[in-house]
Amino acid sequence: MSDVAAMTGATVTRATLRRNFWGSVWRVLLRKPSRLLGVVLMLGFAFMGSIGPMLYDRPLPRDPSVQFASPSLRHPFGTDFQGTDVFSLLVIGSRYVLLTALITAVVSVLLGTAVGLVAGFRRGALDAVLMRITDVNLTIPGLPLLLVLSTVWEFSGAWEMGLVLGLLGWGGLARAVRSQTLSLRERGFVEAARGLGLPNRHIVGRELLPPIAPYIAMNALMSLIVAVYAQVGLFFLGVMPVIGENWGVMLNRAVFDFGAMTTPARLPYMLAPLLAILLLTIAIVLVVDAMDEVFNPRLRVE
């Protein structure tokens, strides 16, 4: 997506950068309204996952006489098998999905950045070992592995699920961070900083990290997508307990229990989580697109 060639951060002073930053963010967003849409959607999902579930009284109201009602103003996605509003299920289910995705992103970004920085900065034997581990991480087919793991581990909470997904998904970032660290070293300012007698902590935190940070941030966003894909997918396949409130369970039950594929009348129940995933993907892609331009001024010139 980006070769992060724009290592401008080191030459411009920090204050100017910050002042220019928000200005350029705003300009970039305005240049394409679709990006504004992306930001709005992202904020919407954040609201949905954090505050959304609290807006509903539990147990959810239901009307057993109207099972699988068609979409209406009251029920934008109709009702489920017990007559509960599907939209409220979607909102409540978003918490698990988004929280897991967030944890995954945090874990994989922390691990990937740490491994990449250490490997690229230290070089030598440690680098070789870390890169071997990274290779293994990149080569193990994640989804089949999760399927096999699911026979012994229920990943019941968002934390467990997020942790496992994060542990499986840091390899790509580690490799990229390492190669960028290496290229920064080649430019000599690590040597220069060393020459000035600055501690390693300073070099990594102040000199190496800032230029890579935008890349890491974009990577974190993209890993949100991957996390949603993996966890919703696992629940959808039914290897996880198909109980609880999340989109994957809704998909699983729609397709395998409720016959959404057989009866068009039940399609809305399946389409609701699909639409949510679609919108979330769009939001992330648009935001990443905007970020790419903010941090990659070269693209802006064209």
Partner: protein, 334 residues
């Protein structure tokens, strides 16, 4: 050349270690895995309306097929037979695992290959276009659609396709691989039936991987466009077709590395696609064997998928080595 051979040998050695790691890992999982396949089969038969005696009669023999000995003994035995390329027999069906894997692999590899080639051709063409028009609105839209499709889970694509073509407008089948009435072989009916059943899986593979090609090709073309050669050629007024050929050749080469990796990724994606379209490939086999606790088949399928990914990685890397002289030289020096 010696460097390449050494590099390949290193990869193969690491690949074997990887397979051993995965195998050991799977064995640990299997050894702590709860659930008794025989008891499950018995209760399922009851659920299907067999009388307890009939269910007992059906499952009595299975008790004898349980693995015996300690986990370590089983592990060593399995490793031993694996060296002879013997994957054992299915715990549930008693068929050789290699036979089962062979049958299932067919149904995964062919649609995945067709889907990848389709998306490659489409993605490369659109990618070139998006690169050339990168400052225009259309090029922008194409790039965005590429990012979106790359991010969209393949099961979302598969479910949407299934909802459209199998539910709302039921023109294509949502299960099976081929109509059994047609004699297998080189006859039109059989091939048409194969095709009809494979359209939706292939379309899913194609759609969900083509976004990646657009992006890769676009960035590759953009890099090539910046080359001095192009500037010089344009200044000298060289023929557009010559320039285009230069761009295409130099931009496509790096993509072949991704090609191998993309096939590996689709092997995992096949799990969803095959489940949704009930297509009898490797992914389906893996899910079914997990559901039935058919541990030998499960281990075999997981090993095969891992091996496929490793081989794809090696192929990609070797290809990269061959086309990029810098890496080749580095390899020679090492």
């Amino acid at each position: 050349m010696k460097g390449i051979a050494r590099r390949l040998a290193g990869h193969l050695a690491r690949g074997l270690v990887m397979i051993w790691v995965v195998l050991t890992f799977t064995f640990v999982i299997v050894s702590i895995m709860p659930g008794d396949p025989v008891q499950a089969e018995y209760e399922l038969l009851l659920q299907q309306g067999h009388s307890p005696q009939q269910a007992e009669a059906q499952t009595a023999m299975l008790h004898r097929f349980r693995p015996t000995g300690s986990v370590l003994e089983q592990y060593l035995e399995y490793m031993g037979s694996l060296l002879r390329l013997d994957l054992g027999q299915s715990v549930v069906t008693r068929v050789d695992v290699s036979t089962i894997l062979g049958e299932a692999t067919r149904w995964t590899v062919i649609p995945v290959l067709i889907g990848t080639v389709l998306s490659f051709v489409l993605g490369v063409l659109i990618g070139v276009y998006a690169a050339i028009k990168r400052s225009g609105k259309l090029g922008d839209a194409l790039t965005l659609s590429g990012s979106l499709l790359r991010g969209l889970p393949d099961f979302v694509v598969a479910l949407i396709l299934a909802a459209i073509f199998a539910t709302l407008w039921p023109v294509l089948p949502r299960s099976g691989a081929v109509n059994i009435l047609y004699e297998p072989g080189f006859n039109l009916d059989y091939i048409l039936s194969l095709g009809q059943h494979a359209i939706l899986p292939i379309a899913t593979y194609a759609i969900s991987s083509y976004g990646g090609w657009i992006l890769a090709m676009k960035s590759s073309v953009v890099t090539v466009l910046g080359d001095d050669f192009i500037l010089a050629a344009e200044l000298r007024g060289m023929k557009r077709s010559v320039i285009f050929r230069y761009i295409a050749r130099n931009a496509i080469l790096p993509l072949f590395t991704i090609f191998a990796l993309s096939i590996a990724a689709l092997f995992s994606g096949a799990i969803f696609v095959e489940r949704i379209f009930n297509y009898p490939g490797l992914g389906m086999l893996l899910i079914n064997s997990i559901g039935r606790r058919d541990i030998t088949v499960m281990t075999g399928a997981f090993l095969l998928i891992t091996a496929a990914v490793i081989v794809a990685n090696i192929v990609a890397d070797m290809f990269y080595t061959v086309i990029d002289p810098r890496v080749r030289r580095a390899g020679d020096a090492a």
